[in-house]
């Protein structure tokens, strides 16, 4: 991905993140730091990507729990 076209934010210690972006269709990538995980052996920075449509005035809620992946 071209860094020039990417907006980045960071999840805070209360597990929340938020950002204001102009309307459009976005790829949203969560890249975990796994800071609280005990059993980090490999895949220490798992990730998850979604495609989401954000319109003017929308308040989109998108949450993810790393560790659920095995259900897929």
């Amino acid at each position: 991905m071209d860094a020039k076209n990417i907006t980045k934010t960071v999840v805070d210690g209360s597990e929340n993140y938020s950002a204001n972006v102009k309307s459009g269709i976005y790829y949203v990538l969560f890249k975990s730091r796994n800071s609280t995980r005990i059993d980090k052996v490999e895949n220490s920075e798992p990730f998850k990507c979604y495609k989401v449509n954000i319109n003017e005035g929308d308040d989109v809620k998108m949450s993810y729990a790393f560790g659920f992946e095995y259900k897929q």
Partner: protein, 173 residues
């Protein structure tokens, strides 16, 4: 006299701008440049690129007040500020991480937003397949029997929170 006043005003201006930036260093290695806005109930409020973030003191390595000492990883991009706020949308959420027995805040997780119009060749399905392969490989190697009732209870509760398909979790028991 005017010159003296001008110099004092100049010094005050530069000293104010110097103190307006703080750096927050987290224990996971992340550094953020922004403004420290307060401290409440063992939580620090930090303004990063216009977003007020909350950090527990246990997750913080240090706070640097002197702008000259700040060495921060360059921001990949800035949130567009040349647009009327009413023309913008908001996205927010909760990111957690499953430890052995419970879900914890995954503090420091990076969240990237990329406009799809600039990524014509990007294939989400390929990325998902790659992700699934890594995750499958990871759990195949590390998933061992644990106090399964506690774990499933945590997953079930979290499933309620995120409206996940609980039927697939029941099959795990």
């Amino acid at each position: 006299m005017k010159i003296t006043l001008f110099i004092i005003a100049l010094i005050l201006t530069y000293s104010n701008s110097g103190f307006s930036q703080n750096a927050l260093c987290l224990k996971n290695g992340d550094k953020m440049s922004g403004k420290l806005e307060g401290y409440k109930n063992d939580t620090i409020l930090f303004n990063f690129q216009g977003n007020q973030l909350k950090f527990k003191t246990a997750d913080i390595e240090s706070v640097i007040f002197n702008q000259k000492e700040i060495v921060v990883e360059p921001t990949k991009a800035t949130i567009p500020i040349d647009i009327n706020p009413s023309q913008m949308g908001k996205i927010s959420g909760v990111i957690t991480c499953l430890t052995r027995f419970e879900f914890q805040p995954d503090a420091g997780t990076n969240v990237y937003f990329a406009d799809s119009t600039n990524l014509k060749d990007f294939n989400l399905a390929t990325l998902d397949s790659f992700n699934n392969f890594i995750v499958y490989k990871y759990y195949k190697k590390t998933w061992t029997p644990r106090p399964i009732n506690i774990l499933l209870a945590a997953i079930y509760d979290e499933g309620e929170k995120y409206n996940l398909d609980k039927e697939s979790f029941k099959l795990l028991d």
